[in-house]
Amino acid sequence: MITYPFAYQRAANLAEAEALLGANPEAKLLAGGQTLIPTMKQRLASPPLLIDISGLHELSGNRRDGERLVLGAALTHAEVAQSPEVRTLIPALAELASHIGDPAVRHLGTLGGSVANNDPAADYPAAVLGLNASVITTRREVPADKFFTGMFETMLAPDEILRAVAFPVPRRAAYAKFANPASRYAMVGVFVAQTTEGVRVAVTGAAPSVRRLPMMEKALEASFTPEAVAHIKIDADGMNEDLHGSAQYRAHLVTVMAKRAVAAALA
């Protein structure tokens, strides 16, 4: 499949990428291309200009900032999965990254691309919301609770670039995903974290956008055990329904995945 024609420019640095994006409102940033290129091939997107930001050193690497681990937007899923810092401080995040798609997708796909895209079935948004992370852009720092605003929608302005995500290091955390057997995207994925500020539970794949589960958070606050969430029934209203599964099926899966995530966090 051939995309519509476009111009291509590899940005030399972040400032150039920002200037190009500001001057070309219809342009798109190209990171790993693992979402954007399939979309362009299906002709669902036709940006006149692609601004390649994949190699920018300002977006790469990770650093410790007090109790937070700050990961650059250009880190690939494979890099996050293998990072000694991530594996030591937030092993649940390394584990999550190691189950995104397949090895070839993980070699190119990036943290920034996944978070900016906010696919309803993507894995990273669950970790960003579950760990109470902050999204650092070229303009500001946005808390996860405000960042994801709807299906494929975020707070990012059209000319704003996601630079990094700052993850507070949790006491314990885990992610349990029921992967779609064909695509590996999450049918339902639940991220649980026990943090200094309490328990957080975030679910992806189930609804039009990643969301928290306050009922489960309260139950786990009282007792951080799989049994504490086992009896919680999730309302099927507002759950995704498609050829892969009904709303009831997904609602049921949320409880099952939450139980597994808590068990994994305790293991």
Binding site: Y4, Y8, G33, Q34, P38, K41, A78
Partner: protein, 155 residues
């Protein structure tokens, strides 16, 4: 139109192409390296896997311009001086193919996983083959071939 320059199987190539040219089309249609296949064209099947700077990627999900200045290895670049690469030899030995359509991508994925040291056992090999689909073999002999090659290569 734009000019891309990259190293393909050790040789420098430079061509004028449309920006929207996918890497797989550049390899097959411009360079006539037709060993890299297009199975699905939707990023699912892995028939198009090549290495860019030593890493396995799906060449149907990358534009050729993204590989500008980089080094690409295709299935044609594996055999040295006419001798099959150990993974190619193992696929032949273990009947790791039937129609052969998926084989170039399977082999490029296998070489990558062995290089990363993650082909230790059959379960890991199957997990690493997540992005490669074969419609003939049932995978059993592909896994056997990769297992044998990994052993032989000391990985």
């Amino acid at each position: 139109m734009t000019t891309v320059t990259m190293t393909v199987n050790g040789k420098t190539v430079s061509n004028e192409i449309e920006e929207r040219t996918l890497l797989v089309h550049f390899l097959r249609d411009t360079l006539m390296l037709t060993g890299t296949h297009i199975g699905c064209d939707t990023s699912q099947c892995g028939a198009c896997v090549v290495h860019v700077d030593g890493k396995a990627v799906k060449s149907c999900t990358m534009f050729a311009v993204q590989a500008h200045g980089r080094s690409v290895t295709t299935i044609e670049g594996l055999a040295e001086a006419g001798a099959l690469h150990p993974v190619q030899a193992a696929f032949r030995e273990h009947h790791g193919l039937q129609c052969g359509f998926c084989t170039p991508g399977m082999i490029m994925t296998a070489v990558d996983m062995i290089a990363r040291g993650v082909a230790a056992d059959r379960a890991s090999i199957r997990r690493e083959l997540e992005g490669n689909i074969c419609r003939c073999t049932g995978y059993h002999n592909i896994v056997s071939a990769i297992e044998a090659a990994a052993k032989e290569m000391g990985a």
